[in-house]
């Protein structure tokens, strides 16, 4: 039962995933933690952190959630659920796209989506950094990392390592 629910939820989320998984993180957190109670808010942050430490497309975070909810089967159902509907749509549109290479609508659509992706990506950061009530330590680490990424152009893995050290010291 849970597997079906999981698969259907991620399949529906699939078509809302604009600009990568980051834009649906807040929605996932709302559903998984608030509505379903499949994980706690703190656990959600921890799973997100584990996903950050892994290579590969960040959609694998969904399979981690699936794994926590329903084991290996859950991890596959969540990943396939999130990927399949969008992939089918993309394949269909790819064929059409070739036909309208110069259509002005392409620019119109791209410009329309850009601000939404920015707002949702920032919301993703906010939600992860604020699992319960605001905690200055999480915000300190988040803002320091963001500043490091924007100013210093170092490999993000070093910033995550810095976050690990600060976490170990502060919490």
């Amino acid at each position: 039962m849970t597997l079906i629910e999981l698969g259907l939820y991620f399949a529906q989320l699939s078509l809302l995933t604009f600009g990568g998984l980051s834009s649906v993180i807040p929605e996932m957190q709302r559903y998984i933690v608030d509505v379903k109670g499949w994980t706690t808010a703190a656990d959600f942050v921890h799973l997100f952190a584990v996903a950050q430490a892994a290579p590969g497309p960040n959609v694998l975070f969904t399979s981690l959630i699936g794994y926590r909810v329903a084991g290996i089967a859950g991890s596959l159902v969540a990943l396939i659920g999130l990927c399949l509907p969008a992939a089918a749509l993309t394949c269909a549109v790819a064929a059409l796209w070739e036909g309208c290479r110069d259509s002005p609508w392409r620019g119109v659509i791209r410009r329309a989506l850009a601000p939404l992706v920015v707002g949702l990506t920032f919301a993703g950061g906010y939600i992860i950094a604020t699992p319960h009530t605001p905690d200055w330590r999480m915000w300190l680490i988040a803002l320091a990392t963001a500043a490091g990424m924007l100013r210093a152009r170092v490999n993000p893995l070093w910033l995550l390592a810095g976050g690990a050290v600060l976490g170990g010291l502060l919490f």
Partner: protein
């Protein structure tokens, strides 16, 4: 590993499904810290499956449409070269290694989660990852931050989703309609 400028070479799309699988396996294997650079390196620089323009065009299409960008690109390219079998094989190749790595990490984490230090470290990494999201949002937002309509849409999305906890299924259609309205009137 040959870097830098390589002379233009004839395009050589994969000939067999095995070649396709191994190519995407290589992308997954070298994707620490970002899949996009790894995909570009393997498909354009190393194996000459695609021209740089073709690569950008394909990724651009996948960015406009919903779904995970690189996952979508794997499926579109696999299908282009070998039909549905190709789509399946490319997807499998891309995710195989990162998936196993992720499960291994999850098992390790579950086993040691009770240790307070590990929990603290993992919380720190999570907060740090949140910071990476914020930085990405700032980078993406900079070019459009001077346009009032764009700022209104960004802020509206953020408040509705992060503070109001409104389901995305409600926010996204409204946002897309608003975005298209402003975009058509050249306000974005």
């Amino acid at each position: 590993m040959a870097g830098g400028v390589t002379p233009a070479r004839a395009l050589a799309p994969p000939h067999t499904l095995a070649e396709l699988f191994l190519g995407f396996l290589a992308i997954g294997a070298r994707s620490f810290g970002g899949v996009l650079p790894a995909a570009h390196y393997v498909m354009v620089d190393q194996r000459h499956w695609l021209t740089p323009e073709d690569f950008t065009e394909t990724i651009g299409l996948c960015q406009v449409l919903p779904g995970p960008n690189i996952g979508n690109a794997a499926i579109v390219l696999g299908k282009r070269w070998f039909g549905l079998r190709g789509a399946f094989v490319a997807f499998l190749g891309l995710f195989a290694l990162p998936y196993i790595w992720m499960l291994a990490l999850a098992l390790l984490y579950t086993r040691w989660a009770a240790r307070p230090l590990l929990s603290a470290v993992v919380t720190g990494v999570g907060a740090s990852g949140a910071g990476l999201f914020m930085a990405t949002a700032v980078k993406l937002g900079r070019p459009i931050a001077r346009k009032p309509a764009a700022v209104a849409l960004m802020a509206g999305c953020f408040v509705a989703v992060a503070i109001g906890r409104v389901p995305l299924l409600v926010v996204m259609p409204i946002g897309v309609i608003g975005g298209l309205y402003f975009s058509r009137r050249r306000m974005l």
